[in-house]
C-alpha cells in the first residue's frame, strides 16, 4: 500500500480529472452486475470521485454534541417532558447505497436519542420508517438498520413502516380549495408532541424539507412535486438553488414546520463505498497496483461465470464501510445547510465546460432496487434521472448531446417489489413515452389500482404510481439529451421501448455518438461509483 502522504499528493484537487492519452490504462466501468474494461479514445476526459473524507473520530460523541448544540432550536433534552408523545422518524433503505456496514448511523443516533428519552421519562415512543410510496422494509432489513436491541424493544407495535394508503393513518394539515396543494403527514406524527427525524444524507437531494414533506406523505401530497412539470423546471435535483423540486418541497416543509415541532438530526457520510477486497474501485486505474489488477480480473471473471441472480446476491451482500463525516441537529433549514456544505465538499469536482458525449457506467443498484433487480425503468432513472443530475445546475453533457450508458438492459423485473413496473413497461411505454400524456392518462389508474395498493400495504411492493414517478424522474435528462445509447444491451426491445439506441460495445457506442455529434466531439466519462458530482464552469 502507498504511504498516506503519497496518496494525499495523488489526490489533490486537480488529479480528479484525467485526460486519456496514448498508453493510458483501460477503465473499469460498472455495467450492471459486472464490469467492462474499456480503452477510451485519446482526449477523453475521465472524472474520478474524490477520495473519502475522514470520518469523525467518535460518532456517538458527535451525535451527542449535535443534539446538545442544535441549530436554531433548543437542545433536545430541553424539549423532552415526562409523559409526552414522541415519534422518531427514520430514513428508509433507499439510502445509502449500498447499505452501510453495521452499526448503521441511524442505529447510533437512535441509541443516543432513546437513552436520553428514557432519562427524561419519555416512554410513549414510536419509530416510523419514512418510506413514503417506497416499498415497506422487511423485518430483517428493519432489524439490521436499528440493531437487535432496539428492534426487540419496539418491533412490530412501535416500530413500523409508514403506510401512505392507510385511510386512518394520515392527517391533512393543509389543502388548497382545488386540492392541488395538499400537506399530509402520518397521523401518529401529526398527533405527537415532538418528532425527531433521524436522517442519513447520501446525496444533496436528501434531507432538509424533503425528509418530512416526502417521507411521511401520501399520494395526494406527493403529486404537488412528483410530476413532469416540476421535473422539467428543475435544472438539477442536487442543487437546491436550481431545483424546482426542492422549492416545492420547501413549501410543504415550511407548512409542516408551522404545524408540528420537528427536531432534525442529519448525518452525512463520505463516499467510501468499497471495503477491503474491492477498495481499488476508489482508485484511478493509473494507480492500480499489480494486486489491484489481479483482484479486479478475478472479480470480473467470477462475476461473469455466475448466473446473474447469483452475482446480484453477491454484490448486494457487500455492505459499504462509510464513515460519518458530520452530524448536525436542530431546525430544518440551518441544519440542512451545514449538511449540504459537507456533502459538496465530498462530492464536487470542478470541470471546465460541457461535453458533447458523456458516458455513465450504470451499477447493479439504485435507491429503488436494494435486494432486488435493476429493471429497465430503474436503469433509465439511474442514467437520465440521477447521473445526469449529478451537477450543480449545469449538466456535464451539452444540450442535444449524447448520453452513453453501460448496462446489459435485461428485461427482468421483480414481481414482489416492482409489480406495477411490469405493467407500465409493457402497456404504457409501447403507447407513449410522453411524460405529460402518461401523467394525464395513466397516473390515477396506477395510483388507485386496488391490487397495487394491496401489494404496497401488505407486501413489499413499491406503490402502483412509482414506475410513473421513475419515468418523470428521467424527464430532465430526456428533454436535454439528443440521443441516448445503451452500450452492451443484450436485447433490442428494451432500448427500443425506452427510446434509446443500442450497441454491443462501448467502442461502437462512441463511434455512433461521434457520427451523431461530429468526429471532433468531446467525450467525458463520469467514473462512478463511488459517487462523484461535477461543478461545470
Amino acid at each position: 500500500m502507498r504511504p498516506l502522504k503519497t496518496l494525499k499528493k495523488l489526490y489533490d484537487e486537480e488529479s480528479q480529472v484525467v485526460i486519456t492519452e496514448k498508453g493510458s490504462p483501460p477503465r473499469a466501468l460498472f455495467s450492471g452486475e459486472n464490469f467492462l474494461l474499456e480503452d477510451l479514445p485519446v482526449g477523453t476526459r475521465v472524472i474520478f470521485p474524490r477520495p473519502p473524507l475522514e470520518g469523525v473520530p467518535n460518532v456517538k460523541a458527535a451525535i451527542r454534541w449535535a443534539i446538545n448544540h442544535p441549530e436554531g432550536m433548543e437542545p433536545l433534552h430541553a424539549l423532552l417532558r415526562p409523559g409526552m408523545r414522541l415519534t422518531c422518524v427514520i430514513d428508509d433503505i433507499s439510502v445509502p447505497l449500498p447499505p452501510m456496514a453495521t452499526p448503521d448511523v441511524r442505529q447510533s443516533i437512535l441509541e443516543v436519542v432513546l437513552e436520553l428519552c428514557a432519562d427524561s421519562g419519555v416512554d410513549d415512543i414510536h419509530l416510523i420508517i419514512a418510506n413514503a410510496l417506497h416499498r415497506r422494509m422487511t423485518e430483517a432489513e428493519m432489524r439490521r438498520m436499528v440493531g437487535q436491541k432496539i428492534h426487540d424493544a419496539f418491533y412490530p407495535d412501535r416500530y413500523y413502516n409508514h403506510d401512505a394508503e392507510d385511510p386512518d393513518g394520515i392527517t391533512e394539515l393543509e389543502r388548497s380549495p382545488c386540492g392541488s396543494h395538499v400537506v399530509a403527514v402520518n397521523r401518529r406524527v401529526a398527533e405527537s408532541d415532538l418528532t425527531v427525524y433521524v436522517n442519513v444524507n447520501f446525496v444533496p437531494m436528501n434531507g432538509g424539507h424533503k425528509s418530512m414533506g416526502t417521507g411521511l406523505a401520501n399520494y395526494a401530497s406527493l403529486r404537488a412535486h412528483h410530476n413532469p412539470k416540476t421535473i422539467r423546471s428543475s435544472e438539477s435535483y442536487m442543487e437546491p438553488a436550481k431545483s424546482e423540486l426542492y422549492r416545492r418541497n420547501e413549501r410543504i416543509g415550511k407548512a409542516i414546520d408551522k404545524h408540528l415541532k420537528v427536531f432534525h438530526i442529519e448525518s452525512v457520510l463520505n463516499n467510501r463505498m468499497f471495503g477491503p477486497g474491492t477498495d481499488f474501485l476508489h482508485k484511478r486505474e493509473e494507480d492500480y497496483s499489480e494486486g489491484d489488477r489481479l483482484k479486479f480480473h478475478a472479480m470480473r471473471y467470477a462475476l461473469s461465470k455466475m448466473p446473474r441472480a447469483a452475482a446480484r446476491k453477491v454484490l448486494n451482500a457487500i455492505p459499504a464501510p462509510y464513515d460519518v463525516t458530520g452530524v448536525f441537529a436542530g431546525a430544518t433549514e440551518p441544519t440542512h445547510q451545514k449538511i449540504l456544505e459537507k456533502s459538496w465538499q465530498q462530492y464536487v469536482v470542478p470541470v471546465q465546460g460541457q461535453s458533447d458525449i458523456v458516458i455513465f457506467p450504470i451499477p447493479f443498484i439504485s435507491p429503488y432496487s436494494v435486494n432486488s433487480i435493476l429493471n429497465p425503468l430503474l436503469v433509465q432513472v439511474m442514467g437520465l434521472g440521477y447521473f445526469f443530475n449529478l451537477n450543480r445546475g449545469v449538466p456535464l453533457v451539452k444540450k442535444g448531446g449524447v448520453i452513453i450508458l453501460t448496462h446489459p438492459a435485461f428485461d427482468e423485473f421483480d414481481p414482489v417489489q416492482h409489480p406495477s413496473y411490469i405493467e407500465f413497461f409493457n402497456r404504457v411505454l409501447p403507447e407513449t413515452r410522453d411524460a405529460v400524456k402518461i401523467e394525464q392518462k395513466f397516473e390515477r389508474e396506477f395510483a388507485e389500482n386496488p391490487s397495487y395498493v394491496h401489494l404496497y400495504r401488505k407486501g413489499n411492493a413499491y406503490h402502483g404510481v412509482h414506475p410513473l414517478y421513475m419515468w418523470y424522474w428521467g424527464e430532465n435528462g430526456r428533454q436535454h439529451a439528443g440521443k441516448v445509447i445503451v452500450a452492451g444491451a443484450e436485447n433490442n426491445h428494451v432500448p427500443a421501448l425506452l427510446g434509446w439506441d443500442r450497441t454491443d460495445t462501448l467502442t461502437e457506442a462512441i463511434e455512433e455518438a461521434r457520427g451523431f455529434m461530429g468526429r471532433s466531439a468531446s467525450i467525458s466519462l463520469l467514473r462512478i461509483s463511488p459517487t462523484v458530482m461535477v461543478d461545470v464552469k
Binding site: 385511510p167 414481481p415 409493457n426 388507485e448 391490487s451 394491496h454 407486501g459
Partner: protein, 221 residues
C-alpha cells in the same frame, strides 16, 4: 374517468372455502335428525368424489350437485344460508379481504361478487362485505320448492366472462377499466375479459398464467 367495477370470485379468493363445503353444509342441515346423520355420512363419503369432479369439470359438477337441493323450500334454504354464513363463510374470510374490497371502493369501483354458488347462499356474504351486486347461479323454484335445476346459463368458466361483459354493458361500466380477482385457472376467461386482472392465492396453473401475462399476484392472508 370511466365508471368501473371490481369483480370478485368468492370461493378460494375471498374465503378459504369452495362450493363443496357449502354443499356439505346444506346436506347436513336438512330434514330430520336421523336423516341428517345418514346424509352427513353419505356426504362425507362423497366429498372426495365431488372435489375430483369439481377439479375435472366445474359445469357438470354444479349441475350434478344442485340436484340435491330438489324439494327444499325457499324459506328453508334462505334460513340455512344465514346459518351457513355465520358458521362457515364468516370464519373462513381472509383477514385482508375487507381491506382489498375497501380499497377498490375508494378507487371508485362498484363491488360485484361473481360466483358459481347459488345466489341465496351468497347473499349474507355480499351484505357483510357491502357488495353492490352479485352475479351468481339462480335456483329454479316451483311453488316455493326448489326443483334442483339451475336457471341457465350456469355461472362458471366462460359464462362468468359473458356475464361480466353483459353486466358492464347493461350498467354502463368500462370493461377495460374494471378489475377481476380469482384464485383458480378455471376463471381464466373471467380474468381475461377485464382490463385489470389479478390472481389471488392462485393455484399452480393460474400462477403460471399470471406470470406469463404479468398479472399481479396477491397472497391474501
Amino acid at each position: 374517468m370511466d365508471a368501473k367495477a371490481a369483480f370478485y370470485d368468492v370461493d378460494g379468493t375471498l374465503v378459504k372455502t369452495n362450493v363443496v363445503h357449502v354443499y356439505a353444509y346444506y346436506a347436513m342441515n336438512r330434514g330430520s335428525l336421523l336423516g341428517m346423520a345418514g346424509r352427513t355420512l353419505a356426504t362425507a363419503a362423497s366429498v372426495p368424489l365431488f372435489a375430483a369432479m369439481d377439479a375435472l369439470d366445474r359445469k357438470t359438477f354444479n349441475e350434478f350437485f344442485y340436484r340435491y337441493y330438489a324439494g327444499l323450500s325457499e324459506d328453508r334454504l334462505i334460513s340455512v344460508a344465514e346459518d351457513m354464513f355465520e358458521d362457515v363463510l364468516k370464519p373462513a374470510l381472509y383477514e385482508q379481504t375487507r381491506d382489498l374490497i375497501d380499497q377498490a371502493r375508494r378507487a371508485g369501483c362498484r363491488i360485484v361478487l361473481v360466483t358459481g354458488a347459488l345466489d341465496f347462499s351468497m347473499r349474507p356474504l355480499a351484505r357483510h362485505l357491502g357488495a353492490d351486486d352479485m352475479i351468481a347461479n339462480k335456483m329454479q323454484f316451483v311453488g316455493g320448492k326448489a326443483t334442483g335445476k339451475v336457471i341457465p346459463p350456469i355461472i362458471e368458466g366462460a359464462n362468468k366472462a359473458n356475464a361480466i361483459r353483459s353486466y358492464c354493458v347493461r350498467e354502463g361500466l368500462s370493461l377495460d377499466q374494471s378489475h377481476g380477482y380469482s384464485d383458480s385457472a378455471s376463471d381464466y376467461a373471467m380474468l381475461s375479459v377485464v382490463g385489470r386482472p389479478t390472481a389471488v392465492n392462485p393455484d399452480m396453473r393460474l400462477r403460471a398464467i399470471a406470470r406469463a401475462y404479468n398479472w399481479p399476484i396477491l397472497d391474501l392472508k
